[in-house]
Symmetry: C2
Subunit: 100 residues, 2 copies
């Protein structure tokens, strides 16, 4: 999401933003959901820096409760996701489209 305009960098942040738009989650839950989709679980050293970046850009907000921190989108984050989704679809439509 750093790459707000044109690059391939930021796909993890994009995916995290998308997942949080469906349901607020904490870091471990996000990692497990990515594991479910890709078959490999991102390590803490991957997922927490990504969340930190999204927070610093004002795209996600946090709610701490005990040992867990639940992340959810800000309205700014929702706007960013909408734009990013449009770019993503324009770039990859037929990759998903043609089946195998």
């Amino acid at each position: 999401m750093r790459g707000d305009c044109c690059d391939m960098r930021g796909m993890l942040s994009f995916l995290v933003l998308f997942l949080l738009s469906k349901k607020p989650m904490n870091g471990s839950e996000i990692a497990r959901e990515i594991e479910r989709r890709k078959g490999a679980k991102p390590s803490p050293g991957t997922i927490y820096p990504a969340l930190k970046g999204l927070r610093e850009m004002g795209f996600v907000k946090e709610k701490k409760s005990g040992k867990t921190v639940t992340y959810s989108l800000t309205s700014k984050g929702k706007d960013a996701l909408r734009l990013a989704k449009q770019r993503f679809c324009a770039t990859f439509t037929d990759v998903l489209g043609n089946g195998k």
Copy 2:
């Protein structure tokens, strides 16, 4: 494509591999096709290192004619693309799926 197993790195190489599977192209044509999809054209400093990497991994072969080099997939590249496409779809299906 480096990230043959689990990471978000390699999305450009993945896209290039996909584009070449539809039609053999030279570097400039690939850059223009990416521009058409994303609205931003990758510079030479982006696209040629990516092609070099794909060549070094044995995923694309070259055919030089005058000033242009036409790239196309090897059978190894086709296999790699097939796998990468499966991972990509599993990860991003509903991102493209839900319309907006």
